[in-house]
Structure formats: structure tokens, C-alpha cells
Symmetry: C2
Subunit: 256 residues, 2 copies
């Protein structure tokens, strides 16, 4: 069904804007926004049990685009009104409202690689790490502590569509304990003094923990860690970007 909205005071405009800007609005509606064609195309071409594209919001130029599906409720906006709801500077004129169906947290008992993010704050870093985790074939991304909302539109955008293939779970302390009891090894990344990433061998069941940009890993996780690992850096470099460090470690660990 396609309908047009031309009035800026239509409540729908306010609702979409709230989804882009407010975590509370996303939680209350149980939906989030994905902006740009690439992510929407990924949802349309790959069946996803976890994510349902509920509504498309498009500017007039998209109205007769043959790539758009017939079965998704579609709202057409004049360009100035689309610019109003859009979260990006140079909007492509298309966004989707997506309803996730979260699945309960579970982990593979025999072999598995998980990325644990401790209170990561930067949406670009989180989105990029999700993209890298999917690229490296990681089995899940565990969100620990008070970090950025994974349904923040900038996070979703930075995944470049990869969020559709990622298992992302908020987890509590007890979940980590269960994994450790099952034989998982918790690997803490530290800037200095850990084992050299490239001279370490890794088991088949790992949790790679990355700390927040400003504060690193929390004391509680550091105490639980089986091993601390460090990417060897030249003397003039204090640290790498969190998404870079996490991605380098993920690929290296999976190789053994």
C-alpha cells in the first residue's frame, strides 16, 4: 500500500524523526530506522527471520523505482519533508522502518568465536565492528555495559547492511560466566603489556573483549580474562582506533 504525506504536521513525520533521534522512541515502538538503499536492498534480497522491513519512506524520485517491493507499506514524501525526517546530510531519499525480532542469547557449545564490546560509545565504531565481525565469520556480538544503542541509525548505517547477518545480543555478567564454565577463553585486548597478538595461539572457543574508547576494559572483565593480548605498535603510536584494533584481533584469532 502506498500513501502520500504532504503536511509537515502529520504525526507520522514526528514519529519517524523520533526513531532516528531517540533510543526511548525506538524502545517504545519496537522498531528502528535504516537509511539508504544499500541496507534496504540487503534486507529485501536476503530473507531475515530477525528483521522485518515494515514500512518504506521514500522521496518522490523513488516513487516508480522498479527495485522497490509491492508488498511493503510505502509512504511518499516531498523532498523537503524527506530532508526533515532524514538523519544524513546528503540523503538518498529512502529509509525503512524495521522491526527486529530478537532471539534469546545462545552460544555454540563446541566451537565459536564471539566479540564482546564493553560500553563502546561511538556509533561509527560499533557499526564498523559489526561489519568486520560478519566479515570474519564471528558467531555473535555481545554488548556489555552501558554502550551506544545498536539500533542508533548511525550504527546501522556504518554496518553497510551487515547488521542483517549479525547476531547481536545485550548480555549480562551471568552470560559470560556460563560461557567461561563451558570452556570459552576470555581474551582481553590491552594497549601495553599483553601477549603479542601475532605470537599467540588461540583455542577454538574464544570471547574477544574490546573496551570503551575512553576507559578501556572494565576492571571486572579484566579480572575474568584468561589472557591479555596486545597488538605490537611502534613507539610513537599510543593506540589504534577501537574498531581497527578489534578487527585486526578478530581476523588474527580466527586464523588460530
Amino acid at each position: 500500500m502506498t500513501r502520500e504525506i504532504t503536511s509537515a504536521t502529520n504525526p507520522f513525520i514526528k514519529e519517524v524523526r523520533a526513531l532516528a533521534t531517540s533510543k526511548k522512541a525506538r524502545q517504545e515502538s519496537g522498531t528502528f530506522i535504516i537509511e539508504g538503499w544499500r541496507g534496504i536492498e540487503t534486507l529485501l534480497t536476503h530473507e531475515s527471520r530477525q528483521y522485518k522491513l515494515e514500512t518504506l519512506v521514500i522521496s518522490e524520485e523513488w516513487e516508480n523505482d522498479p527495485r522497490l517491493p509491492d508488498h511493503v507499506d510505502t509512504v511518499v514524501l516531498p523532498d523537503p519533508l524527506f530532508a526533515k525526517v532524514s538523519d544524513v546530510k546528503n540523503a538518498q531519499g529512502i529509509l525503512g522502518i524495521v522491526r527486529p525480532s530478537p532471539v534469546p542469547f545462545e552460544f555454540f557449545p563446541d566451537t565459536g568465536h564471539y566479540l564482546l564490546l564493553d560500553a563502546l560509545r561511538d556509533p561509527g565504531n560499533l557499526g564498523t565492528l559489526i561489519r568486520s565481525a560478519v566479515g570474519a565469520g564471528y558467531d555473535g556480538i555481545l554488548l556489555y555495559g552501558d554502550g551506544v544503542d545498536p539500533y542508533n541509525p548511525k550504527v546501522i548505517r556504518s554496518t553497510m547492511g551487515s547488521f542483517a547477518f549479525a547476531n547481536i545480543w545485550p548480555i549480562a555478567h551471568g552470560d559470560i560466566d556460563r560461557m567461561l564454565s563451558n570452556g570459552y577463553e576470555l581474551l582481553a585486548t590491552v594497549g601495553h603489556g599483553g601477549e603479542n597478538l601475532y605470537k599467540t595461539t588461540f583455542p577454538k572457543k574464544t570471547i574477544l573483549a574490546i573496551g570503551s574508547e575512553a576507559h578501556g576494559l572494565s576492571t571486572k572483565l579484566m579480572q575474568l580474562a584468561d589472557k591479555k593480548i596486545t597488538i605490537p605498535l611502534s613507539a610513537t603510536c599510543e593506540s589504534l582506533n577501537a574498531a581497527i584494533a578489534g578487527s585486526i584481533c578478530m581476523f588474527q584469532i580466527k586464523r588460530g
Copy 2:
């Protein structure tokens, strides 16, 4: 020398703003801006022949900060005026005007690792790659084609101070030819079909080429490449972020 500016119509305000927003203004003045304490601290604590901190621009709260040097010309602005010249949302109230003294391009004849960026457009990606290149101990960053200005304030900010330790050169085709004649191997990163990064050994003289986010490597560079390399990715992942892919390759190649 410290002076105060309180009028928004003072030409200095317009000059600083132009340095933040216009490549032409940076080229004409021969300076660029670095915003935030971290980068300025790096310049103050590490002698740099390449970069001279010419002027500090601070908001009033910084006025008596003991960390600031006496020997640098300093301009104090009221908060609202600082916000006007600042390039970031939550400004720290401090920025520096920096004069670079570019050194002519040169390369090590016997052993060396260089990163070649082909028309990279995203300032965050360029800054992050500079930071990673310094971390991995690369000998230089070669800018090829029509990419983002390395003195763009967002590039400088994303390096987190690392630009002070980086050798960054715009290069032309002839420079690459000279390196290849000297025995350097040009490694082209490609999304699919190259040699597996982790199953390849690398010589002691390499140029790692990363293509632009949208178009990849230009045909000309691709034809010159001695070897194409690929990061093995899971089937659901189309590609990694350019800064992530470049960083993973840089660290892996230097290890041999």
C-alpha cells in the same frame, strides 16, 4: 604573546573558520587547523621538524591552564565566539594553527613499507589509516589521485595526534615508477580473487595500495600491481571498511 578578540566581525575569526572549511584557504595561507588538546599536546611534547604550532586559539576557560606554552602566540575568545570557529560539536575550547614544512618525497632504497591511497574520499578513513600506518611502523603514506585533503580538520582529528609522526606525500605516477624500478613490489588489495592475505609471504620492500571507497583501485594502478591480495571474508560480507581493510593488510604484510 596573548591577545583577546571579542568581536565576531574581527577578520581573524573569518580566517580561522576558512582554514577549517576550505582547502583553498589552507593552501593560500600554508597552514591548517588541529582541534582538541590531544593533537596539540602531541605537537608540544614531541619536537617536529615538519609541523610548527604557530598560533593557539583558546576559549576563556583555558586562559590560565599551566599546560599551555608561553612561546606560542595565543588568541583568547569568549565561548560563543570559539563555538563559531570550531569545527566540532562539543568543542574542547582549544585549537591550533599549524604550519607544515613539507619535505620532498623520498623512499628507503633497501627496505621499506609504504601505504598508497588512491583517491580516498572519506576524511575519517584517511585519518584512521594514518594513525594505523604510524602504529604499524610504516615509512610513508603516499596520496595518489584526487582524494580528500590530508589537512582537512576531520582527517587531522581522526589521526589522534599521529599525523605528527607520519610522512605524508602526494605523489605522481613517476614516483611509483621509480619505486618499482628500485625493486619495490606493488600490492593491490582487491575484494575478491586475489591471493589470500594470510597465505602470502611478502618482500622487504612493499607498496600496499588501497582504492577509494566507491571505486576501488584505478585501472592504471591495477595494471602496475605485482600481486593482488584479498582478505578472506565470509560469504555474507561484501567488503570491509577501507580503513579496516587497509589496517589489517598493513600489519599482516610487515610481519612478512
